[in-house]
Symmetry: C2
């Protein structure tokens, strides 16, 4: 069989059926928010005023991950839900599963790598999930959590490589088309590729002329080299402030979706990401996590020329910035004021 046909075979195995995304939307709509598609404030001048922000940082659990989490749990049988769910996640997937599991009465265990911040662990535990730390790198955490699920016959939900997850992120494509039928460009951050895979497949099948632009942090760029190589490239290491965009590899599924449906991928560095977080705070009063600001970094830095589109959208994927760096500055001020008053 020639290579090209193998590729098509693989693609058809992973392709996204729009009616399945529509069914996913019916499934999750009682539980997730139709998030705002906000115009920029009139007073700002750094970005063209036609750019709109899709604020998934205001989604339940603080990120788009809630869509896939609910879809996967609702697809499981009542018996599976009763037994419980296991996931591994340093961040938003764990929070989303914790949130969805609590809403649906499903026992949940979330594995975190030892390096995960105390803030993340606390937030997930607050949802009622059992939090376990295991492994010094995310691959060990992942393997261990999968063994746990298999041993105990529990539902396992992969953070990005599952059909239910892709259909969940596809619902964001449907929402954008409802709110802005004339959309002609969307900027989407890439971590494992589940967000861009589901959104791009849904949007491109319904509106072939929408330009899909992916954004990766330069210190954890894995989709771009994978597309260039024609196969999944695993990075030896990652280094970026956008921790929720930092798995070491995409999956076969998300790679094939990106090959087919993504028009362009651009890279941004950490300094640009933090500048974009600051911009979102000052201009829009939205504090987001670094991953959530990556698309704004791409626009502000000129990596993407947003001006050339009439109805562009930047997908702000999440808002769960860790508390530690945010409050370090404030706690320093309290200490200084207290010292000064002695």
């Amino acid at each position: 069989m020639p290579h090209i046909n193998e590729g098509n075979q693989t693609m058809s195995q992973y392709d996204v059926v729009v009616s399945a995304v529509e069914q996913a939307r019916q499934r999750v709509v009682p539980y997730v928010r139709h998030t705002p598609l906000a115009p920029l404030p009139q007073a700002q001048t750094d970005l063209p005023s036609q750019l709109r922000l899709k604020l998934e940082n205001l989604q339940v659990s603080g990120s788009f991950k809630a869509r896939g989490a609910f879809n996967n749990l609702l697809l499981a049988s009542p018996e599976q839900r009763d037994r419980g769910v296991v996931v591994a996640s340093g961040g938003n997937h764990g929070l989303a599963i914790g949130y969805a599991a609590r809403r649906l009465g499903v026992p949940a265990t979330v594995y975190l790598p030892n390096s995960a911040s105390e803030d993340r662990a606390t937030r997930i535990a607050r949802q009622g999930a059992t939090v376990r730390r295991y492994g010094d790198n995310p691959s060990d955490t992942f393997r261990h959590s999968l063994e746990h699920a298999e041993r105990d016959g529990l539902l396992y939900v992969h953070p990005f490589d599952a059909e239910g997850t892709i259909h969940g992120t596809g619902t964001l494509g449907l929402e954008l088309l409802d709110d802005l039928p004339e959309i002609d460009c969307v900027l989407i951050a890439i971590g494992g590729g589940g967000l861009i895979g589901g959104m791009a497949a849904t949007l491109k099948q319904l509106r072939p002329n929408v330009r899909i632009i992916g954004v990766e942090p330069v210190g954890a760029a894995k989709m771009l080299p994978s597309i260039q190589a024609g196969e999944v490239v695993e990075l030896p290491g990652v280094r970026t402030i956008a921790d929720t965009l930092a798995p070491r590899a995409v999956s076969e599924r998300t790679l094939r979706l990106a090959e087919r449906y993504v028009d362009e991928i651009v890279l941004v560095d950490d300094g640009q990401i933090v500048a974009a977080m600051r911009w979102l705070w000052i201009e829009c009063n939205q504090l987001v996590e670094p991953a959530g600001a990556a698309v704004i970094a791409a626009a502000l830095s000129g990596a993407v020329n947003v001006d050339s589109y009439a109805h562009p959208v930047a997908l702000i994927c999440g808002g769960n910035a860790a508390a530690e760096p945010i409050f370090a500055g404030y706690e320093q001020i309290v200490t200084t004021l207290a010292d000064f008053s002695k």
Copy 2:
């Protein structure tokens, strides 16, 4: 004339007529947001679940000050509006006047003390207002801005001591009664006293049994000593992280309103305020300025026993946290990651 009558005389001069607050609401309603009265997330446990948060940090311009700003500008004659408005403000009043002036096409000049952060100045200038720095302490800034207004015959809007401002903050009382007619307690931060004055007067006249609890930072407590002294007490200095609660004195008007309508005043310190900011971020994904978290500090610290009310509300007065301390931590991380990669 006996002292008690003098007091009554003064009071009647300053009293708030509810129908005037209702008129103010009609005036400002096309321009300000009916902000959410949000229940606490189900997962949190530190505060009783019946506590609701009135999120004025989501108000246009990022704080409740927009209500008074619009009311004052809309009360002015078209000729006054054409000539322009002058204010002095280190923070939210300046932002609110800047925002309202832009919406209404009024030329605005905002004076800031030399010590105001670059972030505040930038935000106000972005609204299109002329920003001028003058004076090393806010009293000098205030005096100078007033001279400017008088010299040029411009409208001057005091940050808290104006009838139009008090009627503007009173609209928050009407909104709370619309959304929660059974309200039995409200926690309100005190800066100059304009917020609590307008809200307390409106609420108490319509619902005498609502308990009004004021919250002051211990390093800038001026309403409590003024009530104890029976006259306006000017502090020799202030020291608090809640910079928008830090004028050195309340006014005769706000003191008389507080004497009449406020049931209790509690104090919180800076450490409690920052802990409350962190709590609001972790539990509610709301980043607010220190002043906005003061009421939560009062509840978390036990200074107010929120549990003893059936329908209590915490008024989150503003969200305009300065960007500098928030992003210092993130910029440190970027530097560390960059050093590590050399």
